[in-house]
């Protein structure tokens, strides 16, 4: 027994060594041979690629017959890749020419055949390639695969249909969505967005009949493809029981801007769902209608922080109403609301511009507005400007404002600035303001120091 086990063990070890050695030798041989052939293959590919590019027009027009390149795998791959890449960027004339080329050269038929006969990833690849060819003849096979294919094939067909992007393709996708399909939501949205970009009204007609799972998807797509002046149809969406649909309706309204949009959006700002209120508030901001200021001021006091921030950002975009908005916001006696608004004013650079107005006629209104801003949290910025503003009158008036506010932070900050002026740059960079950022980016700020950040950043 002992003898047997020893012999067995030794034999196993010998076998292991032999097999490992053989596999190792094969792997090493493969690595080195592959590297040798790879270099040769790249040289060949570059040469053939150059030839194809030089004779591209003759190939596409058929002056060089397809038979000369389509039976050589490398040549065919190069021609296909170049043609499909060009199709992505082609204008309508060039696209038509390339479609003819796909038909005449037999490439289209080849991929149609592959999409029908092949299985697995080769079939999916063929379906995707048919989509890239943008040929209407591919639609029946793509629609058939979408209807009957396995989930993965159906998703590939869906993406290809999305690439073709016609209303017919979009309608086929909508038909398929009646049944469950295991596909990422983003893929469906992207495909539908491309399909209905040219005809959003066709999509709108489908939304009321879609079930609860699909309706939010369609509503979101509608918000992406909607155009100004689109026909009515959105009105049913604003009273939809699903909050996602109502939110998407708010986005659509901001783009379509029909008569009475502000009123409808004002109603949506009181929705029970915070994200509907958020979308409606953002949409009101897009309208930039001064009559919506009271509604937005109300949203400044919303229970949701994001809604408050969006309302503040919408209010800042209202042209020429800064002081009135600040006054109205201060009347709400909601410190959070005022702080959100003042931060947004600060970020947009409006406060810095208001400060410049202190030296001009009508400074009393500016003075009152800045006191509200200081009470809302803009003390640091005002203290900075009080120290560094080039106009002495402005500096003096800012001092008065800060004294009037009686804020300990402001007093401490001013004292610190005055104690150590050497630590401060000569040119002030307004904190968090668009002006400050643009000044830095254009290199005009902070004593002309070179900005080390690359342009891409």
């Amino acid at each position: 027994m002992r003898f047997d086990s020893e012999i067995l063990g030794l034999a196993a070890a010998w076998l292991g060594v032999g097999v490992t050695l053989a596999v190792l030798a094969l792997l090493l041989l493969f690595i080195f041979l592959r590297r040798l052939t790879r270099a040769r293959w790249f040289r060949l590919r570059d040469r053939r690629g150059q030839f194809v590019r030089q004779h591209w027009n003759e190939i596409v027009d058929g002056d060089i017959p397809a038979a000369t390149w389509c039976f050589r795998k490398l040549d065919r791959q190069i021609v296909e890749e170049i043609a499909l890449d060009r199709m992505e960027l082609a204008d309508s004339e060039e696209a038509g020419r390339l479609t003819m080329f796909f038909r005449d050269s037999g490439l289209l038929d080849r991929y149609k055949y592959d999409a029908r006969k092949r299985t697995g990833w080769q079939r999916r690849q063929s379906l995707l390639t048919l989509g890239r060819m943008l040929a209407p003849e591919a639609l029946p096979i793509l629609i058939a695969t979408l209807e009957d294919g396995a989930d993965e094939d159906a998703v590939a067909a869906l993406r290809a249909l999305g690439r073709i992007g016609s209303t017919e393709a979009g309608t086929a996708i909508l038909r398929r969505l009646d049944r469950p399909l295991s596909c990422p939501r983003e893929v469906v949205e992207l495909a539908l967005t491309t399909c209905f970009r040219a005809d959003p009204e066709a999509l709108m007609s489908h939304i009321p009949f879609a079930d609860d799972k699909i309706r939010p998807v369609l509503a979101r797509v509608l918000a992406e493809v909607a155009v100004a002046g689109m026909a009515d149809g959105w009105s049913t969406l604003i009273s939809d029981p699903l909050p996602e649909v109502r939110a998407a309706a708010a986005r659509t309204l901001a783009i379509v801007q029909p008569t009475g949009a502000a009123m409808v959006l004002a109603m949506l700002t009181e929705d029970v769902e915070w994200f509907v209120r958020l979308r409606a508030t953002a949409a009101l901001g897009e309208l930039a209608d001064p009559y919506t200021i009271p509604v937005l001021i109300e949203r400044l006091c919303d229970s949701n922080r994001l809604v408050r921030l969006r309302a503040a950002s919408a209010l800042v975009r209202m042209n020429g109403s800064g002081f009135q908005i600040l006054t109205l916001a201060s009347r709400t006696e909601d410190r959070y609301a005022l702080q959100a608004l003042v931060s947004e004013f600060e970020r947009s650079g409006k406060i810095t511009r208001m400060v410049d107005g202190l030296a001009k006629p009508g400074a009393a209104v500016v003075h009152a507005g800045l006191i509200t801003a200081a009470r809302g949290g803009a003390v640091r910025l005002l203290a900075d400007l009080a120290q560094r503003h080039p106009d002495e009158v402005v500096r003096r008036r800012l001092d008065q404002i800060l004294e009037q506010v009686e804020d300990p932070v402001a007093r401490e900050y001013l004292a610190k600035l005055r104690e150590s002026p050497a630590e401060i740059d000569e040119t002030p960079v307004p904190r968090n303001t668009a002006e400050g950022i643009s000044r830095v980016l254009t290199g005009t700020g902070a004593a002309g120091r070179a900005d080390p950040t690359p342009a891409s950043a």
């Binding site: 190792l24 493969f30 983003e186 992207l190």
Partner: protein
């Protein structure tokens, strides 16, 4: 004595056969995973993802402690990444050097009054800074708690995107790394909860403006051996485990996670030594307990370049810490082991980690001891021993050559013939020189775990471009 030696030798032989069998399975799985991934990429049309409004934003979390030499370069390369929407959150974790000052000067940081809500408890935040040069950059200055996990949690609290990407401050990402690492999540957003990328050693390569412009092998043997180890660990180990849905580690140097799930499980565990592995194990645990369908993916081509230690002392400390971290994670999640409730994670992945990772250094030491005692007592069958030693040596070389093959076939980063020959040559040096040393360091790590020594030891770094030591992505198979 002879009976003991005989039993020990059979036990070790089975143990060894088991390890090699698992490695062989991983090798086959990794080849299949590589092929599948390339088919996925072919059909994904990355350029459309890049231009799509529907691509989910990512918050990049960068914990930085005493990184003044490389932080500016790293942040610049992150801001220039090719991805539709990112925010970069750098956490200056109580640095005692000029890390914050470097950032302040280079990116025109201004202190902001933004409210920082610590949903996950962290050490106190001293200040929040926004950049006047790039609004996508946010810098948090916090007190140090001596834990990277704490800094990551602070960044997690400040993040706003649905996905967060944790990376090391000294890491350099390739330009399209985020697009590529997000491929599984974009393809299957309902189920993919985390995705890890490959980490490679940047030593020896040329880095200009935060981009690797020329890939070369490092000059020293120690660094080159680590290159090989990383290749084997990521291309075979991680990829193979991910293919079988049993990936337990996503490197802390580069990984993407769903933010909501990270917060649900309380973020990174503060007391964890290997916080990256700990997070993934807890994610598995949480999702298995919720009985949700999920996937943790590994993507082999989004490359993150990092410096590896070039000094033996630094490397020894790093490896001891990894082993300590592994033991800590396994111990704190020990209820998962062999528990059917956790499916293949509990029944296969965790026992593998205990048996072939946690116990591996002890088994190796036991093997050496058995050989020594056997030779002294003349009980060792020399021909038997030589055959097994040869088999082990060749099999180890085979796995390393396999990873070089995967690299050569698919990724092809080392274009120089000299580099290829050196890499293949080192496949046969590694088992003789590097592996025994690694075993000693791992035993030290286990000792640290037993004695409760788990303090963070800073590793000296020279910064990119000067070819020097570095950091820690876990690199065990």
């Amino acid at each position: 004595m002879t009976a003991f030696l005989r039993t020990a030798s059979w036990l070790l032989a089975f143990y060894y056969a088991g390890t090699n069998f698992v490695y062989l399975i991983l090798f086959v799985q990794s080849i299949r995973a590589t092929v599948e991934h390339h088919r996925l990429l072919k059909g994904l049309w990355i350029h459309r993802v890049r231009g799509s409004k529907l691509t989910p934003p990512i918050s990049i979390l960068v914990p930085a402690r005493n990184e003044q030499l490389s932080i500016v370069e790293s942040v610049r390369s992150l801001l220039a990444l090719d991805y539709p929407e990112i925010e970069v959150i750098v956490v200056n974790d109580g640095s005692t050097d000029g890390t914050l000052e470097q950032l302040r000067q280079s990116f025109r940081l201004v202190e902001s009054d933004i409210l920082h809500v610590s949903e996950i408890a962290t050490a106190s935040i001293r200040g929040v800074y926004m950049s006047a040069a790039d609004r996508r950059l946010l810098v948090l200055d916090k007190e140090s708690s001596g834990r990277k996990a704490d800094a990551l949690n602070a960044a997690l609290n400040a993040s706003s995107a649905p996905f967060v990407c944790a990376i090391d401050a000294d890491a350099v990402l390739e330009n399209d790394a985020l697009l590529r690492i997000m491929a599984p999540a974009l393809n299957d957003p309902a189920h993919v909860v985390a995705s890890g990328g490959i980490v490679r050693a940047a030593n020896g390569s040329t880095i200009v403006n935060g981009r690797v412009t020329r890939v070369r092998l490092p000059r020293t043997a120690l660094e080159t051996l680590q290159v090989l180890e990383y290749l084997r660990s990521f291309l075979i180990g991680r990829q193979g485990w991910a293919r079988m849905d049993m990936l337990l580690v996503i490197s802390g140097a580069f990984g993407v996670f769903r933010r909501d799930l990270c917060k649900e499980i309380g973020g990174f565990r503060n007391s964890a030594i290997g916080e990256d592995m700990d997070l993934i194990v807890r994610l598995h645990r949480h999702l298995r307990e919720k009985r949700g369908k999920y996937r943790i993916a590994f993507v082999p081509d989004p490359v993150c370049w990092t410096e590896v230690p070039d000094r033996l002392g630094s490397l020894a400390r790093q490896r001891a810490r990894w082993q300590n971290g592994l033991a800590d994670v396994l111990w704190s999640n020990r209820e998962m082991t062999l528990n059917p409730k956790y499916g293949r994670i509990g029944l296969l992945a965790m026992p593998y980690q205990w048996l072939f990772e946690f116990l591996a250094p002890l088994a190796e030491v036991l093997g050496w001891a058995a050989v020594l005692v056997g030779s002294v007592s003349h009980a060792l069958d020399r021909s038997f021993f030589i055959m097994y030693f040869l088999f082990g040596y060749l099999f180890s070389g085979l796995l390393s050559v396999g990873s070089v093959l995967l690299e050569e076939m698919v990724y092809h980063r080392y274009n120089d013939w000299g580099d290829l020959c050196r890499l293949v040559g080192f496949c046969f040096v590694e088992p003789l020189y590097y592996r025994p040393l690694n075993t000693i360091w791992r035993v030290q790590g286990l000792w640290h775990f037993v004695t409760g020594r788990n303090s963070w030891q800073l590793i000296h770094r020279a910064g990119f471009g000067q070819g020097s030591p570095a950091k820690e992505p876990s690199a065990q198979i």
